[in-house]
Subunit: 153 residues, 2 copies
Amino acid sequence: MNNKVLPQILKQAEELCRERGVRLTEQRKTVLELLCISDKPLSAYELLERMRGVVKNPVPPTVYRALDFLLEQGLVHKLESLHAYVGCTHPDHPHASQFLICDDCGEVAEVEDSSVAKSLKAAGKAVGFRTKRPVVELLGTCAQCVAKQDDTT
Amino acid sequence: MNNKVLPQILKQAEELCRERGVRLTEQRKTVLELLCISDKPLSAYELLERMRGVVKNPVPPTVYRALDFLLEQGLVHKLESLHAYVGCTHPDHPHASQFLICDDCGEVAEVEDSSVAKSLKAAGKAVGFRTKRPVVELLGTCAQCVAKQDDTT
DNA sequence: AACTATTATGTTATATTATTACAAATAACG
DNA sequence: CGTTATTTGTAATAATATAACATAATAGTT
């Protein structure tokens, strides 16, 4: 995530939490911040490492609790196929996004394709399934890395 | 998976492996079989437990190696959000399926919705992303459990 | 301010999922 | 056969995640 937008993201997060009557504590804000300034998804234990020096003595529950909160509030997303977490790029509205995960460079793009959302909804409806949380992750190669590969072959 | 179709699935798997020049060994067949006769997805360690008595002294690598092979051959699928594995219901052709996962009863339905596949493909193409492996898992409540819940509320 | 209930954090231990590394055995192929 | 590939055996450990219970901080009420 571009860290130019970090202050804005944090401000927005604080506002959302205030509106909802939930508490964006220091620990939670730290985790959100670390995820947002990272250009890659981070695992819980990578987050743990980066919390040292910021939070006094972080241990796994410290991280997982903060993540649980942030996930609940839709401020971060979990990438199931990577066991890693990313900051949400547009937490202002509830949404079901899709993730394009490049296994070459590690970049992750969050997209919100209405046509995908619609077809998934329809597929569920067709069999009476009530979706709570869609997990849509496309693993492959991003445009940039595709170009690089085509150069060398 | 309905175990009436088990012999057919195994026969098909053997045929596919023969055609492809790969070996469906006893261990691999055992894992495939265990997944197919289970009505729920199984974790690697659940598989490990069920292998005792069938295979002499199974340890984690035993299971994970068999799973790796079966995943590569498209004979089983991994449910990333559950860390669990299921037998494929139609291994005869390559496909990108979606999984409807009921978090009430644990049932998993594998569906192959062409409209979903199409929209995902389009979403990737729009940004030049080359998808190798789509992960599409809808977590929620199946029709049967929705009905049950509506009864009691 | 003091009391209480709720929420958040501290702390220790452990459960669950997955991989590494190297040796031995088996199968495929000339 | 002899050689190479692949598969399996074996032991240890890495990586991810949760449980359980104690303490502390906060919010709301008197």
